[in-house]
Structure formats: C-alpha cells, structure tokens
C-alpha cells in the first residue's frame, strides 16, 4: 500500500475565475492545442516530460471541476468555465473515456491459462470426481464415539461434541462408561475450510492420541507413544478453501502396549486426563477448532496440490491468466509430478480395483481415459485418445508406468492448462466457461451432459445450471473471495496498534474481528435476499464477549451473536471495526486509506498512484491539529489535489471511528467534524455528515452498484467486460437492480451472459448481435 503512505495535500484551493468575458468561445480542440498539448501531447498520448496518457474514468463534470481547479499547471484557474467544459468534452470523447479508448482499441477475449486458484481446484476435482462426494448437513461439531477399552472396542455411547476441549480429570467423561481409568474416544467428521494454505493443528493431552487430517491412513500427529514430558503435539496440512476434509482424532486413557491387564495394573500411575484440539488456519490465531468449522458428516480425502505457484497477474485489479512465465511453467511441471504420484499411490481406490483383480489393467486404462477427458473439459476424439492414452499403454511394459505418463502428459497439455483452447469446442466450451465462472473448476458430469444435449444454448437452461452450480461449497467460496477482494481484505492484513492508546487490541481481538466479518459475509451470501445494500446498511455485527465488551457493550457470552453496537450509528462493512482498523495507522485514523478504499473499491474510480511516496505527517508534530486538519494540510499541493479532492472528503465522513474502529465524538478534546462530499459521475455533488449518511448515499447510488457489477464480472470471468459488447454491463446492472441487489442472482446472470461467448466471438460479431 504505497499509495496510502502518500499524502497529497490540501484544503481546496478556492478558484475564483476572474477571466470570463473577453476570451470568448475558443473551441475545445483549440484550447487543448494551446494550453494542454505541450505537456499532454496532441491526442493526450503524453510527452517525454509527462509520459502518462490522459485516460481515466472521471465523468465530464468531474473532469471539468478538476481541470478548472488544477490546470494548466503553471496557471491554474486561468480557463473560463466554458473553456474548461469545452476542452474536457473534446478530450473526454476524443481519447480520455473508457469508451473512447475502447473505440480505438477494442478489448477482446484473450487466450488465458488456468489461474492458480483454478489450477488447484481443477486438480482437486479431477481426483474427487472418482471418489464419493461429501454430503454435509447443518449440524456442527464432531461425532464422538466412546469405548470402555483402550482400543476402540465395544462402543457404549455416541454423541456430537461441539468442539474438543475436555478437562476429563480423574472421572469417566460419560456415565455409560464405568471405568474412569481405561477408555478410548474417537472423534470423526469433516473440516469446513475457508482459507487456502498450510493449516497447523495442535493436540494437547497427557494421554495417547493420534490426529488424521485429509489422510485416513497416515496421522499428521502420532502421539500414541507418550515419551518424556511432551504434552503438545503439532502437525500440519495444506488445505484448499471451500472444501471439506475428513478429520479423525483418537484418544486413549491410560497406558498402551500389551493387552495383559494384570501387568497394566501393577504399573499404572494415573495422571488427570484432558484433551484439546486446536488449529491455526492461515491468517488466524491458534484456537480450539470452533464448532462452526467441523461437521459430524463424512467427507472423502481430497487431493491437494501443495506446489507453490507464482501469483497471478492482478494489474487490472482482478486475477487473470493471460500471461505465462518460466516460474509458472516449472510449477505446472512440479504440480503434475505431485498429482501423478498421488494418483499412482491411490490408483486402486480411484480405478475401483485391487492388485488381484484380473480386470485391473483394463480398469486403469479406463480411468486414464476418463481422467484425460475431465482434464480437457471435452470429449476425447480418437486421435486425442490415441495420443494421450492408448499409445502409452501400448508402449509401457507396466500399467503403472503408463498411468504416470498419461497423468503427466495430460496435466502438462495446453488442453488442460489453457482455457477453452480449442475454439471449435462449441457447447462443451460453454459448459467449461460456466463452471469456471461460477466455481473456478471444470464442469461436473451433469453439466457436460447438458452441453452434449444442446441445452446450454438456451439462456434459461444456463440460468438453471448456474443456479445449481452456485449451491456448491466451492462456488460459495468464490463469492466469498470476491467480497474479500472488494473489501480489500484478501491479502495479508497487518494490524499492529499502539499499545498505550489501544490496550487490549491484540492478535486475539484482530482474529475475533476477522471472524465477525467473515460470519457477516457468510450470512449475507446464504441469506434469501443476499442484498448487497446490507454491506452498507446493516446495523448489527457478529460479536463475541471480547468484541462486545471492547466496543462499549456488555456480555459474558463467548459465542458469536449479533449485536447492535453504538446505538445504530454503525453502517455495515463501512464501519466494521476490522475495516476501520485496517484502514488506519497504528496510532491514528487514516481518512486517506478510507477514502481510497471508498473511491476505488466502492465507487469504482480509477486513481493514479501518487507522484511520490510520502510519509504522513506524524500526529505528535502537530498536536494542535485534528487528523482531518493534518491530512488537509499535507495534501494541499495541486499535484496531490488531483486525486485527494476526491479521496479526502470521502474518508473524512468516517472520522467518528478511531484507529481500532471505536465510536468517538471528540479527538484531542475537539469535536469531530465528519462532514464529507462527493462529485458523482452523473448529477450534482452530494454532501453528507457521518457514516450513516454516507452509507445511505452509497447504497442507493447507481454508480456504486454499477461498479460492483463490473468488479464482480471481472473477478468471476477474468476477462474485460468491454470485450462482451457494450450492452453487457448495463444489462447486468439492470438485472442486478431488478433482483433487489441480490448478489447470488448477479453471479448467476454473469455466468448466463458470459458463458456462451468465447475467443472465437470477435467484437464485431458481438456488436451485431440482437
């Protein structure tokens, strides 16, 4: 966030144009040639001194206000109102606006590879399609089975335990088991994961224990042998967000080893027993696995590719796969080897065979054909099948060698790595696009079948298909990832706060707040209305006792429940403490961070990076100034104001929420001024006081909802929306509004609109579409 460290400064310079009457009616082109072209070049293409082309998304009125205030640089304010307007009209329609830019260079749908997320999900699904699918119900917690023996024999009791944190002591944990000295417990279920990366697991117990995560045979924690003083055991597993994984925890009270109870009774020395199962997901803190992250239902193992990949290009603000690099190519090779190894070691399960099965070679070959077909998202014609499958079985002495070769070749093939590479794929390509748009993975069998039956040419069938796909956990995860991106909380979030000013705002609080925010997003996405305006307007947030007590309420309930804090002065995600604290410095608020977030993410404006990286003025050096005054002072120069005249007044509206997001009415014993304003793309400038008024404005703003539509399109489709014809955006926007701003509905409409269109459709043919 270099941007945020830059401040530009200032109070608005009151520009009073004195020159009005005498210079009449110079037209826009002339004004541009006389006053602008020296620096900006004849067609706004830039010059050596100012190489950046004039292009952006300000409206004519926004741009006119800006030009009048700040241009020409050597004599701002010297243009008349009419001249400013005229020159802006000329520039706007000639080359500045996105439309003008598109006209000169129409965006097209580019050939893309799978993004990293798509690659990992596709590999997982490739394997998953050969094993069962999990069926996770609404119940949460782990299924606990209780046995009155050391080794899980003669079960006497079963129940669902919300989480595993038991101080058993010297008693039997359940009445059904009489012997408090000798028993075993097995907990099983599915882990529901919402972060991708290495998850650390910790088991704390003085007794024998084993933990299995996503591998039912090899424990990630094997502490069946207790040795010395080790009571804390750590293991880790790489897990993908949006999926469920089998988890099993085994616990046995008392000594292990021989079965002779006489010997045991001679030597047993019973300590008090306890067991606690914790995890630390990426970005989280070490905590007892919460019950919302475990279900008592069964899940199959998932193949998770752990090969590190270089990050995808995000220069347009969304991840896309339009470029490749040697590092990426190498990662795909390593990933292919990792997958081949997994497939080879699990082949009997995947191909549903055994070593003694006479049909084994044939079954493995069939498996290979099905694997390649799924990987390529297209039916295999004879030539392709011969090239990718049959030839290797004919050439290799052993089917195990052929199997590895087929998997390696398939996963290195451009048919797997690149999206819809064969433009003649027809409806199968539509199915593939629809699946990748909705869930970042290849189409399930039923969708491919619909494609083959010709159903996907029909819009209403595509809508039904998208709807069905969206019900999957992986698709829901993609929605969640989009909202994370929109809120800018998808990366590494650092939140160190001044300990003296904000005692108690520690790692635990940050983690609790993150949970609070994620719960809000989950609820929003799964609610009937999925109304995006709730992002601005919700008055309640999820909070546990720590959060409630810190933010001025009172409770002793440790569960995350909904609370209305600060008498309804809060405004959805805008004032969520996590967001407020993230867009703030360690010791003070940052109206600039907050303003940039509002301008870019929410209002969808392009902001140029600041000309220089500038450190903010330290609060201590200006003890007489409020934060608002300090920011205004520092961004006063004209070079800063080109953007900060937009940024600052947006951020100022949130000044009643301090650097950890607590509500306040004074700063340095002076009342908070939270008045702000914004000049929208269309219509008059608006003024607002405080977060609620700002939120009301944003929730109703057409500019904001349009920006949301565009960003969601880009996140889901990974191609420029302009490549889909000029009508696509307004149509989707209208559909979004008509649906009552339903986010899920928008996702479906995006998939319906974008899935039939591929690289083979050029801009011209789209323009001619009815």
């Amino acid at each position: 966030m270099t941007w945020s460290r830059c401040f530009s400064y200032g109070l608005l310079v009151a520009v009073v144009s004195l020159a009005t009457a005498d210079v009449s009616a110079r037209d826009g082109q002339t004004v541009f040639a006389e006053s602008c072209a020296t620096c900006h070049g004849e067609a706004g293409g830039g010059t050596d001194a100012f190489p950046q082309p004039l292009a952006g998304d300000l409206s004519v009125s926004q741009l006119a206000a800006l030009v009048q205030e700040t241009m020409p640089e050597d004599d701002p304010g010297s243009l008349s109102n009419d001249e400013a307007r005229a020159v802006v009209e000329f520039a706007f329609h000639g080359f500045y606006s996105p439309v003008a830019k598109a006209r000169s260079q129409p965006p097209r749908i580019e050939l893309s590879r799978l993004t990293v997320r798509q690659h990992r999900q596709s590999l997982a699904d490739l394997v998953a399609s050969f094993v069962g699918t999990p069926n996770i119900g609404d119940e949460r917690g782990m299924k606990g089975e209780y046995f009155p023996s050391r080794h899980f024999k003669d079960r006497v009791f079963e129940r669902v335990d919300a989480n595993i944190d038991f101080d058993i002591g010297s008693e039997s944990p359940v009445a059904q088991m009489k012997d408090a000295d000798q028993f075993s417990i097995r907990w099983q279920g599915s882990l529901l994961v919402s972060e991708t990366g290495w998850h650390e697991f910790v088991v704390r117990t003085s007794q024998a224990t084993r933990l299995f995560v996503n591998d039912n045979e090899h424990a990630i924690v094997d502490a069946w042998v207790k040795s010395g003083d080790e009571h804390e055991h750590v293991g880790r597993a790489y897990l993908l967000a949006g999926r469920t994984y089998p988890i099993r925890l085994e616990f046995s009270r008392n000594n292990q080893g021989v079965s002779d109870e006489k010997v045991h009774s001679q030597h047993e020395q019973l300590e008090k027993a306890s067991i606690n199962l914790l995890w630390k997901p990426p970005r989280g803190k070490l905590e007892t696995i919460p019950s919302r992250a475990i279900a008592p239902d069964w899940s199959p193992e998932v193949f998770v590719c752990t090969t590190p990949f270089p990050p995808d290009d995000r220069s347009y603000g969304w991840e896309r796969g339009t470029s490749i690099s040697p590092a990426w190519d190498e990662a795909t090779t390593t990933a292919a080897i990792e997958a081949a190894e997994y497939v080879a070691t699990h082949i009997d399960e995947l191909a549903k065979t055994t070593l003694s099965d006479e049909q084994r070679p044939a079954k493995i070959k069939d498996f290979c054909a099905a694997f390649v077909e799924s990987a390529f998202r297209t039916p295999l014609d004879e030539a392709i099948r011969e090239q990718y499958v049959d030839r290797h079985f004919a050439a290799a002495e052993q089917e195990s060698v052929a199997l590895r070769r087929v998997v390696l070749l398939a996963l290195k093939s451009p048919r797997f790595l690149f999206r819809e590479i064969d433009a003649s794929g027809g409806d199968r390509n539509t199915a593939a696009r629809l699946a990748y748009i909705v869930s970042d993975s290849f189409p399930p069998d039923w969708l491919s079948r619909q494609a083959d039956e010709g159903k996907l040419t029909d819009e209403s069938n595509r809508r039904l298909a998208a709807q069905r796909m969206l019900e999957s956990r992986v698709a829901r995860q993609k929605q969640r990832e989009f909202l994370r991106t929109w809120l800018q909380i998808d990366g590494v979030v650092e939140m160190q706060k001044d300990v003296e000013q904000f005692p108690g705002f520690d790692e635990t609080m940050v983690s609790d707040l993150r949970t609070s925010l994620e719960l809000f997003l989950d609820e929003l996405l799964s609610s009937e209305t999925a109304d995006y305006r709730e992002l601005f307007l919700a008055q309640e947030i999820y909070a546990n006792d720590r959060i409630v007590n810190y933010y001025g309420g009172e409770t002793s309930d440790p569960r995350f429940l909904k609370y209305r804090l600060d008498d309804g002065r809060r405004a959805g995600m805008l004032t969520h403490p996590y967001m407020m604290a993230m867009f703030a410095h360690h010791d003070s608020t940052s109206p600039i961070h907050r303003g940039v977030f509002l301008a870019r993410s929410v209002l969808g404006q392009t902001l140029k990076p600041p000309p220089d990286a500038v450190a903010p003025f330290a609060a201590d050096l200006h003890p007489e100034l409020t934060t608002r005054e300090r920011v205004a002072m520092q961004t006063r120069p004209a070079a800063c104001m080109t953007c900060h005249h937009v940024i600052n007044p947006l951020g100022f509206a949130l000044e009643r929420f301090d650097a950890v997001g607590r509500y306040r009415t004074v700063e340095r014993e002076r009342p908070i001024n939270d008045r702000g304003r914004y000049q929208p793309r269309n219509g008059d400038a608006v003024e607002f006081s405080g977060a609620r008024e700002l939120a009301d404005y944003l929730a109703a703003s057409s500019q904001v909802s349009e920006a949301f539509v565009e960003q969601m399109f880009h996140f889901m489709v990974q191609q420029s929306i302009a490549a889909y014809g000029v009508e696509t955006k307004p149509k989707l926007h209208q559909a979004f509004i008509s649906s009552g701003y339903n986010i899920r509905q928008l996702a479906i409409e995006i998939a319906v609109a974008a899935s039939p269109i591929g690289r083979e459709h050029d801009a011209e043919s789209l323009a001619n579409q009815p």
Partner: protein, 436 residues
Amino acid sequence: MSKHNSRREFLRHLGLSAAVAPFVMNSNSLGFAATPQRKQRLVIIFSPNGVFPDEFWPDEVGKDFKLKEILRPLEPFKNRTLIVHGVDDRVRGDGDGHMRGIGCLLTGIELFPGNIQGGSDTPAGWSSGLSIDQEIRNYLQNDPTTRTRFGSLEFGVMVPDHADTWTRMVYAGPNKPVAPIDDPYQMFQKLYGELKDRENFASVLDELQGDLETLRRAMNDEDRKLLDQQTTFVREFERQVADDSAAEQHVEPKLEPNIERQNDNMPKLTAMQIELLVHGFLNDFARVATFQITNSVGQPRMTWLGIDEGHHGISHEPDTNTEAVAKLVKINRWYCEQVALLARRLDETPEPGGDGTMLDHTMVLWTNELGKGNSHTHDNTPFVMVGAGLGFEMGRSLKLGGVPHNRLLMALAHGFGHRIDSFGNRDFCGDGPLLL
C-alpha cells in the same frame, strides 16, 4: 599414491587448500600414512527375538573356528567374518526387555518414561538419544567429501504399521524415532522417483510438442504468442531433461511388480530390499543403511520353511522343547541367509571407481534385541560382522567376556575416523571403543 606428483597435488585432490596443510600433516587421520579417500560404508541388519546360543556361537576363539548351524550360510565369507561374543547391552531403566532391546540397541541410552506398557517392567516411551548409524551419518554428511544425497537409508521388511517402542530402532535424536521403509516400491520411489519422472516426461515431450503445434495453427496472431511462449518453455525443459539424464547415469534394480506386503511374500520382499540397498550404495546415494527385519517381538510366520507359528511365540519355549529349538534354529538360519545374500551381492559388485568389490568397502553388522529369546537376556547380544573397511581384523571368533555394547558402537564410529569419546550412557563407555 603414485597418481599424485606432489604432496600439494594430493591435498588439492582431497579438496583441502594449502593453507591448512601444516595442520593436516599433524593429524593422524589425514596424514600420508592413512588410506586416502577410501569409501567406507556400514549396514546394520536387525532380526528379532534373540538366538539359540548353542547353535549360534562358535566354541573356538581366534582365527581357527567352526561355524555352527545358524551361521553356516556365512561359510563363503568366513575369513571376512568377525563374531563377537561377550558384548552385553547394560542399559536398564523403563521398558520391558524387548523395548529396551531394540530401543537401546543402537542408542546405548535409556528410554524416556512413557505410556507404553510392556509384558513386564514399567511403561516407557522413545529413546532419549540418537542411534549410532545416525551419529555416523551426521559425521559423514558434515564433510563435503563424504556427503551423499540421503546420508542414510532405513530399510525394513514386514514392520508392523504402528509406531511404538517395539517397532523403532533408528533415532535421529531424543524422541525422534525414524520409521523404516518396508515397502520396496516406496523405497524405489524415494531413490529413483525424480529420475523416473524425468524419464516419463522425456518420453511424452514429443507428443506434447506435436499437440502444441496443432493448436497453435488454429490460433489468431495475438493468442498464438502465448502458445509460442509455452512451446519455448517445453523445448527448454526438453533440453534440461536431456542434460540431466546425461549427467546422472544411475543404475537401478528391476523389481518384480505388484508384490503385496504380506507374510508369505517376506522372502521376495527381503530380496527386493537387498537389491535396492546394494544399488543405493552403488549409486552412492548413502554410505549408511539399516535393515530392520520385522520388529522386536516380531511374529513372522515362516511358512516357506514349513513353520506356521509366529517367531516370537516360539522363542518363548523352554530349551527342553526340542521341536521348538529346531524351528528357532531354522528361523535364525534364514535370517543369516539374508545377511549372506547381502554380502554375496556386495561381493559380486565391483567397487565403482575403486579397487576390489563393494564388500571390501562395506561393513555388514547383524544384530538382535536379545541374547536369547526365552530368558530375555541382553547379555551376549549377537554381533556378527561381515565385510571390511573399518580397520577391524576379520576372520575371527572373539569372546570378550562381558563388555558393555556402548564400546562396540563407539568402535563403529572410530572405524569411520569419528573419534567420539563416549556414546549413549557414559557410564558404559569407560575404556573407550573396543579394539577389534
């Protein structure tokens, strides 16, 4: 020595700079008197449940001795065999005889207190120290001239699939048991997996290039650029694979496919592991190896010898049960045959880049967690060595009359030039390494 024209050149060959020459010349291990750069290797083979001493230990002492029934498979290597009687595992503390037997065998130090209850005595956990093979491995890995890809390889056969004190012999440190790999295919993958992957890739690259070309032709100019790039990457990868395989020419054993890990396949599995071990040494992947046949209290049923009961069960029978004794002799003789097979395979293989055979550079040590099965004694723990390379005088039967086995472990390290002054529990290291 004639290959080196001068002392300086000799040192350069060793990889030592002239600056350290004065120091080197004063040290015993690298002076001219020592053998230069001779590869040294160690294999420790474990079999369980003690032996039947009367048919194991030779009656005689010295060079002139007769091999009894159990050791008779070693006849072809008799003059390269060293049989050391009278070495006792003195380590006591927590754990039953079998647990301490395997857990202290190579570590020479007590087990931690823990929760594993044996057939007698107090419960115990893992060993509190590392094992001698890992000590030697670390010593060799710390020196660039003896460093190898893996340092050590841990083989097993039919080791039960649960980690406890009875199934672990090798320790990388206190509380750090190392699991032996008892699946030959898994070991093959570990040793040659990368190489095989490269070979497999190499075999499909032509097809990949062909398909890329087909797809390229159907592209417009803009999109073709991306595939051109991909084509270049694949071509570079192809060249790299060619370079790599030229640089590393490994020999690998051919394994019979699809041999399941089950009792009756134990002879086949053992032979496969021995092949992998010999080839691992041949390729210089490691200089230290262990081979753990089952586990302490191991229960292999040697049906191929006509014995249907498990080994451990039989080992508890009294000496008066002549039928059981006969079986024990057969069982132990079978273990000895595996030791002899390894020795023979090493001896059939010329030392790569050196003189003689691989056995001339390798010491094979066969040992056991107990001296005798039905008494659970750790006195006279079997230590039989075949091979050469550690400077021991071979072709002898020794009776040392009861010395702690820590001193024998130290002797192994000293054989590699690693002059430790104690190993494991110091109380058992007085008088230093055994002079063999």
